[in-house]
C-alpha cells in the first residue's frame, strides 16, 4: 500500500440496527455491528459476505439512504475528510449527487420506465450542474459513449424497456458517472447479467477507473468478481468484519475459517474435484449465537469461541482477522471442539 495514497473512505465503528416485528415481539436486528474499514483513493475493494451479513446495509448507511426502520446508532463515516453522519439533508444530497455513486443489482429497478434514457442520464447534470440545451445534450452523449453505448443520439430517446439488460446496466453506470464521483459503490452489479455481458461490464468499469481514477467498492458474494477485479478484500459475517487483507492473501492463505470455507465451496472451471460444503445456515440476525457468531458452523472451534467474541487481531500491517485461533494466548492450548 503506497504511502502517498490517502484513504478516501474511513468507517469507524459503525453500528446500524433495524427494528423488526417478528410475529410476537419487537426485535432488534444488528445489521452492522461495530464495523470499521478504510478504502484508499483509487483502489478497488470488495466487501464480501452472504445475504444478511450487513454489506448492503453498510453501503446504504454510508449513503444514508436507510429505510425508516433502521437507525445508525453510532460511529463515524469519514469521506474525503468529512464526517458524513454530521451532514444535513441538503449536504448529503449534494454528496450523493457529486461525490459518491451507487450501482445496484437490477437495472430495471434503478431506471424509471416512463422516462427516456437521455432524461435519466441528464437528471443530475440538469439539477446539480445546471447544464442546459446543447451543453446538456453533448455531455449526455459523451457519457453514453464512455459506457460504450453506440449511437447515443438515438439511444437517448429510447426507454429502458427497449434495451437489453447489459445495456441498461451500462446506462446505470453512465448515471453514476455523470457527476464525476470519487467513489462508486457497486452492489452485485452483474448478478443479473449474462456471463459474456458480465465480462464486458467489468472491463468497462476497469477502463473507467483507469481513465478517471475513481475508487471502486464492490459489494458481492461472487468470489469470481473479487479475483477478477479487486485488490483488497473485506470479509463480513453477520454484521461484523471477520477478515481484511490484500486479495492474494485471501486466496492463497485465508485466515478466518469462514473465508476459507467460502473459498473451498466456490466452483471453478479449473478444478472440478469434489468440494465440501459449509454446514449450517446463515445466522438469524435477531437471534445470534453467543461468542463468535460463526462458531456453530466452524470446523475449528475452540472452547472460548462459544463464550466470548474474538478481538480483531492484526496479522500484518495490512491484514486483520477476528478469530480466536490467532490470539497468541489461545493458540496452543484448548481442546478443539467439534
Amino acid at each position: 500500500m503506497g504511502m502517498e495514497a490517502k484513504p478516501i473512505l474511513e468507517v469507524e465503528n459503525l453500528t446500524t440496527y433495524f427494528s423488526v416485528f417478528d410475529g410476537f415481539e419487537k426485535k432488534t436486528v444488528k445489521a452492522v455491528d461495530g464495523v470499521s474499514l478504510s478504502v484508499t483513493s483509487g483502489d478497488t475493494v470488495a466487501i464480501i459476505g452472504e445475504s444478511g451479513c450487513g454489506k448492503s446495509t453498510l453501503a446504504l448507511s454510508i449513503l444514508r439512504v436507510l429505510p425508516e426502520t433502521a437507525t445508525i446508532l453510532n460511529g463515524k463515516i469519514v469521506f474525503d475528510g468529512e464526517d458524513l453522519l454530521q451532514k444535513n439533508r441538503g449536504e448529503m444530497s449534494k454528496i450523493r449527487a457529486e461525490k459518491i455513486a451507487m450501482i445496484l443489482q437490477d437495472p430495471m429497478m434503478s431506471l424509471n420506465p416512463v422516462f427516456t434514457i437521455g432524461n435519466q442520464v441528464g437528471e443530475t447534470l440538469y439539477y446539480h450542474q445546471g447544464l442546459r440545451n446543447r451543453l446538456l445534450k453533448d455531455r449526455i452523449k459523451e457519457l453514453l459513449l464512455d459506457v460504450k453505448i453506440p449511437e447515443p443520439e438515438s439511444r437517448m430517446k429510447q426507454y429502458p424497456h427497449e434495451m437489453s439488460g447489459g445495456m441498461r446496466q451500462r446506462i446505470v453506470g453512465a448515471i453514476a458517472l455523470s457527476c464525476n464521483p470519487k467513489l462508486i459503490m457497486a452492489d452485485e452489479p452483474t448478478t443479473n447479467l449474462d456471463v459474456t455481458i458480465q465480462l464486458q461490464y467489468l472491463n468497462l468499469l476497469r477502463d473507467l477507473q483507469e481513465k478517471t481514477g475513481v475508487t471502486l467498492l464492490f459489494i458481492t458474494h461472487d468470489l469470481g468478481i473479487v479475483a477478477e477485479m479487486c485488490k483488497r478484500v473485506i470479509v463480513m459475517y453477520s454484521g461484523k468484519v471477520v477478515e481484511r487483507a490484500p486479495v492474494t492473501n485471501i486466496y492463497d492463505d485465508p485466515a478466518h475459517p469462514y473465508t476459507k470455507a467460502l473459498l473451498d465451496a466456490a466452483f471453478g472451471l479449473q478444478d472440478l474435484s469434489k468440494r465440501s460444503p459449509i454446514k449450517g445456515e446463515p445466522p438469524d440476525l435477531s437471534n445470534l449465537p453467543p461468542g463468535c457468531h460463526y462458531h456453530p458452523r466452524c470446523e475449528r472451534q475452540l472452547g472460548i469461541c462459544s463464550q466470548e467474541e474474538p478481538p480483531e487481531i492484526a496479522l500484518s500491517p495490512d491484514r486483520t482477522v477476528k478469530c480466536w485461533l490467532f490470539d497468541p494466548a489461545h493458540r496452543k492450548s484448548d481442546r478443539m471442539k467439534h
Partner: protein, 325 residues
C-alpha cells in the same frame, strides 16, 4: 428396473418451438415468430446428468418447458422411454407427469404459500390417488429426511423457512414421485453461496442413490460442470456443442463455447486468462441472423457462415459441434 443399454430416457428430435408475434387491434396479424427453439436434438440417458448452459435467449428455459410438456413442440418430437409423448393429453399426460418432475430456480415462489410443507411434498402423490391422506405425515417425514431436513418441519408453512430449506422441500417433493427424470432449472442460483454447495451435494447424493437422471440448466458453467456428466451449450435456440464435461471444458471447439469459458471469472487473482471478447449484444430470438446464427458475433466467421446454418454433427468421439469450420 431392467438396465437399458444406453437407450436414452428422454430424447428431443429436431424440436422447434415458435411463438407467434401478433400485431393489430381487431384481427391479430402474425408478423413473425419468436424462434425460442429452432431444431434441437438432445438425449438424456438413465443415471446421467446432462448440463445445459446458455445465456438469455438461448432457449434453455423453453427446452425445460417442452420436456415437462408445459408447452407442446411446434415441430419435432419428444420421446420418453421410446414413446412419442409430444402430443400427449388427458390420461396419457397424467401418466407421463408421474415420470418426470422439476425443481425450479426461485425457492420463494416454488412452494405454495398457504400449504403446509407436508401437503406440498405429498401433493404429486395425492393427485394420482396413490397416497392416502392418512399416509401423508409418514411419507412427508421420510422425504424430508432424505432431503436433509428434520421430520418436524412437515407442519410448518413455507414462509417460516429459509431459501435453502425451501429448496430442499422442493427437492423432497420431486423425488417423492419416484420419477426417474428430474429437470433442474437453475436450482441454486437464488441461494446464498454457502448454501449452494449443500444443495448441490444433496442433489448429487440423491442422483447416485436413486439412479436419477437430471437435466441441469444453468448459466454458471463451473457449477454445471461440477455436477454434469455431459454438457450441451445452447445459443439462440440451437445446441452448438455437446460433449463430456471434461472434454468440453478442456477442448471446446465452437467459438461460442470458447468465449463462454473464457468469460467465466477466475478462481484466483493471479490466474491469467486469455479473454475472447464477443462483439455486440446477444441477438433476439425474434430476429435470428441468416446462415449461422452466431456469425455476427463470431471472431472466426468465414464467408460460408453468412449463408449456411450448420447442423450439430459429431466431430470427435462423443463430441458434437455445430460449426462451419
Amino acid at each position: 428396473m431392467p438396465f437399458k443399454e444406453k437407450t436414452p430416457v428422454v430424447q428431443l428430435q429436431e424440436v422447434k418451438k415458435y411463438f407467434p408475434m401478433t400485431k393489430g387491434i381487431i384481427r391479430d396479424r402474425i408478423v413473425g415468430h419468436v424462434k425460442a427453439l429452432d431444431g434441437v436434438d438432445l438425449e438424456l440417458n438413465a443415471n446421467e446428468v446432462v448440463g445445459l448452459v446458455g445465456e438469455s435467449g438461448s432457449g434453455k428455459s423453453t427446452l425445460a418447458k417442452i420436456i415437462l410438456l408445459l408447452e407442446k413442440p411446434t415441430e419435432g418430437r419428444l420421446v420418453f422411454d421410446g414413446e412419442d409423448v409430444s402430443g400427449f393429453s388427458g390420461n396419457d399426460l397424467k401418466r407421463y407427469r408421474q415420470k418426470i418432475q422439476a425443481v425450479f430456480q426461485d425457492p420463494y415462489s416454488s412452494l405454495s404459500p398457504r400449504l403446509k410443507v407436508k401437503e406440498i411434498i405429498a401433493e404429486p402423490s395425492l393427485v394420482t390417488g396413490k397416497l392416502h391422506r392418512k399416509e401423508v405425515d409418514d411419507m412427508a417425514s421420510e422425504y424430508l429426511r432424505m432431503a436433509g431436513l428434520p421430520a418436524g418441519m412437515r407442519n410448518v408453512y413455507p414462509h417460516e423457512l429459509s431459501g435453502g430449506q425451501r429448496q430442499r422441500v422442493a427437492i423432497g417433493r420431486a423425488i417423492s414421485t419416484r420419477a426417474a427424470v428430474i429437470i433442474l432449472d437453475e436450482p441454486t442460483s437464488a441461494l446464498d453461496v454457502s448454501v449452494r454447495l449443500q444443495i448441490v451435494e444433496l442433489l448429487m447424493k440423491l442422483q447416485q442413490e436413486l439412479g436419477l437422471s437430471y437435466l441441469l440448466i444453468g448459466h454458471d458453467l463451473a457449477l454445471v460442470a461440477y455436477m454434469s456428466t455431459n454438457i450441451a451449450v445452447m445459443y439462440l435456440g440451437k445446441i452448438v456443442e455437446f460433449a463430456r464435461t471434461k472434454e468440453l471444458v478442456q477442448n471446446a471447439i465452437h467459438p461460442y463455447t470458447r468465449a463462454l469459458i473464457s468469460a467465466s471469472l477466475p478462481s484466483h487473482p493471479n490466474e491469467k486468462k486469455e479473454r475472447i471478447t464477443l462483439a455486440g449484444e446477444i441477438a433476439n430470438p425474434f430476429d435470428i441472423p441468416a446462415g449461422c446464427r452466431f456469425h455476427p458475433r463470431c471472431p472466426e466467421a468465414k464467408e460460408a457462415c453468412y449463408h449456411i446454418d450448420p447442423l450439430l454433427k459429431p466431430f470427435l468421439e462423443n463430441h458434437w459441434v455445430a460449426c462451419n469450420f
